[in-house]
């Protein structure tokens, strides 16, 4: 099976030199997509010497992943794994996602909370709210709707490469469930990001994200 690891990266010059060799150590083929970073990510990628695309404009996470899917679809890959460029998704779990695709699933999500319990932090209360909205809309119980570590099989890859109109992972997941694709969750552990600051550090952005995500799940899927 031809598998491509897509790594969206925006200002990740410090994390990529650790992450990419780590992915290659497990024998996977990767493609880093540099989303018009303003730091020296482009030079760092050249230094590492890995396959990458440098986007001229900043298109945002959803746009970057779609570009990854377009590339993989055009080059006839059987599966794509999305792994964040900030190093919070350990490459050792890629194989369990690939296994999920090999079992015949179209969408495999790396979930932190299959065997572990979900903590009661602000962020996880948001996650519970999203789970509830997805359950309302599709009747399916998911454990980690915001997980960015996921794998797509060939059919879904074609679908997403052509049209992707999502805020983020939760409403994409809702779309997948509503369309009747085969879906599976596998247990993964995630790390705290090593360098740089998360987008959700800003509470206003978190609220806006929650609102948009819930609206998209409830009204537009």
């Amino acid at each position: 099976m031809k598998v491509l690891i897509v790594v969206p990266a925006y200002n990740e010059a410090k994390n990529l030199p650790i992450l990419i060799p780590n992915i290659h150590r497990y024998g996977w083929e990767s493609l880093v997509i540099n989303d018009g970073s303003t730091d020296n990510t482009a030079e760092v990628l050249e230094e590492i010497g890995c396959a990458h695309l440098n986007l001229i404009n900043n298109v945002g996470l959803a746009g970057v992943t779609q570009i990854g899917f377009m590339y993989a679809h055009e080059h006839n890959y059987d599966a794509v794994i999305v792994t964040d460029g900030d190093g919070q998704h350990p490459p050792k779990f890629i194989s369990s996602l690939v296994k999920g695709i090999e079992e015949g699933n179209d969408y495999v999500v790396g979930s932190r909370f299959i065997t572990a319990k979900k903590p009661m932090t602000m962020r996880m209360i948001g996650s519970r709210l999203i789970c509830f909205a997805i359950w309302l809309k599709t009747g399916v119980k998911v454990s980690d709707p915001t997980s960015g570590m996921r794998a797509l099989g060939k059919n879904l890859l074609e679908d997403f490469a052509e049209n992707m109109n999502f805020i983020a992972e939760p409403d994409a997941l809702t779309y997948v469930l509503k369309k009747g694709y085969n879906f599976k969750e596998v247990q993964v552990d995630m790390l705290e990001r090593e360098e740089g600051e998360s987008y959700f550090h800003n509470p206003l952005k978190s609220i806006s994200f929650m609102y948009q995500t819930l609206m998209s799940i409830l009204f537009l899927r």
């Binding site: 109109n165 409403d171 609102y211 948009q212 998209s216 537009l220």
Partner: protein, 122 residues
């Protein structure tokens, strides 16, 4: 006693308009004609119109607070204000897209120039 703050005809119009708006937006978003972020803006607007339609007391309270005589006028003012904001937002987006287009144009022109040069050398 139930006081009607907004004429019943206008209320029905508001409710119908908001339902139609939501339906239009959902169809366009599902067909990927409309970006999901903009779709959410329009759906939110439709919900706001719906709230005024089914709960005119809210519009009455606000219009009284800002010293407007008629609630109907307040509804019009609100619509104009929202349209104004939305149009401003789209101008900002347009300017950003212009900037990006310029960048793309430049990069493409440079690439084409490099290609011509290398053909000459051959």
């Amino acid at each position: 006693m139930n006081v009607v703050y907004i004429p019943i005809g206008l209320r029905i119009l508001l409710i119908l308009a908001s339902i139609l708006l939501v339906l239009f937006v959902i169809v366009s978003a599902r067909k990927s004609q409309l970006d999901v972020r903009y779709a959410i803006l329009w759906v939110s607007w439709a919900i706001a119109i719906l709230i005024i339609g089914i709960w005119p007391e809210l519009a009455y309270l606000i219009s009284k607070a800002i010293g407007m005589q008629s609630v109907t006028n307040f509804v019009f003012l609100l619509m104009i204000l929202l349209l104004f904001l939305l149009s401003y937002y789209s101008y900002i987006k347009m300017s950003k897209m212009n900037k990006e287009l310029k960048k793309l144009n430049y990069e493409l022109a440079v690439l084409k120039g490099i290609k011509k040069e290398s053909e000459k050398e051959e």
